[in-house]
Subunit: 409 residues, 2 copies
């Protein structure tokens, strides 16, 4: 069968590897130039946190060994307090419970090379505005998917697009003085948030998230940093220049249905479900889509309509939950990581996980370090929370009984 | 100022009356032919329930006296049980707490005549696909607004479009044997819902709402009615013919933001907020938009940007609540109106309203028979519910104390 994929981002180029392995004739159309020839990052989300789901999907096509050396481990969060103190909080109990920072470009080039050598045809510099000729078309063309628009035209499609009222700017930290192997966070509450991902060369990319009105009101970025994030100011030597030159990035959440049309079209990745980036799961869920779709094609090898329908049925409830989790983690990153109580709770979670290995798994661990489907992870976390609450009630009850017993005696 | 309105539906033609009164030069573009010359109903939602908000808006431009004779009062709901029994439940305690059934066409023609004679220029048979030349453009072009799409292009707009998985068909009841002055309901649970609005000539328009799969599965409409709605079957002599000829209508809910752009464009009516029709408030809220926008123009006569921004700030929270209420009322109409408990609760509400006039107002009454803004109505209803709950707890508590007291004695 001839299958056309629109978009050679993480989702499209990984799916190309899966589909060519199934024996299909695969063609990928990509608006941008071949990243192997040109370096055009557009300065947007240039490094990302790869976690268990993405790694599992890359392992399935035999790429993880090649990609591993391109990543920098992030072993936990380094939280910066206003006074400049840095507190390190590990992501998990085990060596494997870490994230991996990777340049989007490096990941995509590996995927394209792999697909290319397996016989996938790539058409770069090609912006599609109509569906290409093929037995089926996969829309992997990101949050503003043209394939989605074409597929939904005139149809009874549900669609929800929501912008976070915060934009972002990417800035460069040439060297991180401590905790290079960490995701650094400056939680600024309603006044902003900085998150950094490390690069192989010892530098890090900082992303400043800020409400639009505050972002627009900054006339002197150095003065702004001196007031809000003084210790970050010292780390970004080119602040004024970068702040002036780099575009403001926007954050959009997208949910939609249906994801497919009669075995002819199917959406994956951000085209089907875009989330705010605060759980670091956008790309990971896009890559995981490919494994789920591949499994559905396995079950319905001769019936694309059934495979696509099953893919949406099986997958959408989980990406809907990821959308919720990504919203909640925005609050966590900008607010709660400042609170000692929050860290006490996190530590208690990790301690329980050590005492009951496999039976008590913190939500963050399930989402980032396992491939438990998102909705199942959330459901399990809620059950754990209920146990904790009942334990607290039970403890209070026991204390009351003990007091009464003393009085009675 | 020259203001262009796109859409001569209820919202656009009423706003034309308001704007020409403010001294503006108003031009209205409408895709369909002039309804005063042609009868082209397309068979869709041909009669609607006008309630307090819409009436208030029509009174403001002096039209209610002219429109009143075109309406049929609906004094309550006539609920049809499976055994054919009909129970009548009045809408309120007072003569004025009723709805008014009107043909959409009659309403729009009155509005167009009024606007026309005040100097508004109408351009019928004109489908706009670009914004017209004017100092400001009003998008009153309904749920699938072209003005909205043009205004949001490239902007960070929030947008949510959701289809109910139920479609509808309109059918004709030449004479309603009893309770002509009522809204008739056949609550069929998950198996369908029929609602009728009366017409001046003694006939009524029935709307059959059904899940799409069930609608598609009907091969013999008479057999379907004989099984599900036997007493309705007898009322619709042309059932088979109408069922085959009339199109399936779709129900969409739309929320979006922003509603305006820099004093140049503003959205009203279904273009800004479309709701499921189960609270009978879609057109009423569209008409009410005109009074709210007019008030904002009063406050900012020389600053359209400020007026449009204030309109959205003041109005959107209320239409968001209407969206929720319209979803809830879908459950009420198809399920709860079957339950005696529900009617007991409704009667208790009306009794409390009689005992505490003005202080206890059922939610349905506030939404349909007053102009209390939707969100304020919901908040007040929630407070009333809390009082009822506490009263119940209090009664139970008193009973318990009484029992204890008896035991102690
Ligand atoms: C600030 C930020 C930080 C993030 N951090 C993380 C993180 O730490 N971890 C994580 O997992 N995710 C993260 N994400 C999310 C991640 O970037 C996306 O989820 C991921 O890129 C989605 O992959 P995709 O292949 O579905 O879409 P995209 O990456 O958007 O790729 C779509 C491709 O389609 C092409 N295209 C679009 N339209 C057309 C057309 N009409 N014709 C031809 N080609 C077309 C585009 O050029 C593009 O190459 C972050 C996102 C942002 C904004
Ligand atoms: C089954 C059903 C029952 C309903 N019952 C009730 C009820 O009982 N009570 C109630 O209050 N509401 C009810 N409604 C809702 C009501 O019909 C709508 O809310 C109301 O019509 C909205 O008015 P509007 O003027 O904003 O939009 P519309 O009525 O949709 O008018 C928009 C106008 O713009 C024109 N137009 C569109 N695009 C263009 C373009 N590009 N160029 C030029 N012209 C264009 C259209 O032809 C149309 O005339 C019901 C709806 C349905 C579907």
């Amino acid at each position: 069968m001839k299958i056309a994929i629109v978009g050679a981002g993480p989702a499209g180029s990984l799916l190309a590897c899966y589909l060519v392995r199934r024996g299909h004739q695969v063609e990928v159309y990509e608006r941008r130039p071949d990243p192997r020839r040109y370096d055009d990052e557009e300065g947007r989300s240039i490094n990302l946190g790869l976690s268990a789901r993405g790694m599992r999907a890359l392992t399935d096509v035999g790429l993880m060994a090649e990609i591993q050396p391109l990543t920098v481990p992030m072993r936990g969060r380094a939280v910066h307090a206003p006074d400049g103190k840095v507190a390190f909080h590990p992501y998990g109990n085990r060596q494997t419970e870490i994230l991996h920072s990777i340049r989007r470009r490096d990941l995509v080039i590996s995927l394209i090379n792999q697909a290319d050598s397996a016989g996938v045809a790539f058409r770069f510099d090609t912006t599609l505005s109509a569906l290409p000729e093929a037995d089926a078309v996969v829309g992997a063309d990101g949050a503003f998917s043209t394939v989605r628009t074409l597929m939904h035209r005139g149809a009874r499609a549900d669609f929800r697009q929501e912008y976070l009222p915060w934009g972002y700017k990417e800035l460069t930290i040439p060297t991180m003085p401590s905790h290079h192997e960490a995701l650094h966070v400056w939680p600024g509450g309603d006044d902003g948030l900085i998150v950094t991902h490390p690069n192989l060369d010892g530098s890090a990319t900082a992303t400043l998230f800020l409400p639009y009105d505050k972002l627009a009101a900054i006339t002197d970025p150095e003065a702004f940093f001196a007031e809000r994030f003084p210790d970050a100011l010292a780390l970004i030597p080119d602040l004024a220049k970068e702040f002036a030159e780099r575009p403001v990035g926007h954050l959009v959440s997208i949910r939609t249905a249906p994801w497919h049309h009669e075995g002819q079209v199917v959406l994956i990745g951000d085209a089907a479900h875009a989330v705010y980036p605060f759980y670091g799961q956008g790309m990971n869920s896009a890559l995981e889509d490919c494994t789920v779709l591949d499994a559905c094609l396995d079950e319905h090898p001769d019936d694309l309509a059934a495979a696509f329908a099953e893919f949406e049925r099986r997958r959408r409830p989980h990406t809907d939950v990821l959308d919720e989790l990504s919203r909640q983690n925005f609050v966590e990153l900008r607010e709660r990581v400042r609170s000692p109580l929050h860290h006490a709770r996190k530590r208690a979670d990790l301690t329980l996980a050590r005492i009951f290995p496999g039976r008590w798994v913190p939500l963050y661990t399930m989402v980032s370090h396992t491939t438990t489907p998102y909705a199942d992870a959330l459901a399990k976390a809620k059950r754990q929370d209920a146990v904790l609450r009942w334990a607290a009630v039970g403890a209070a009850g026991l204390a009351a009984v003990a007091m009464l017993a003393r009085k009675v005696r």
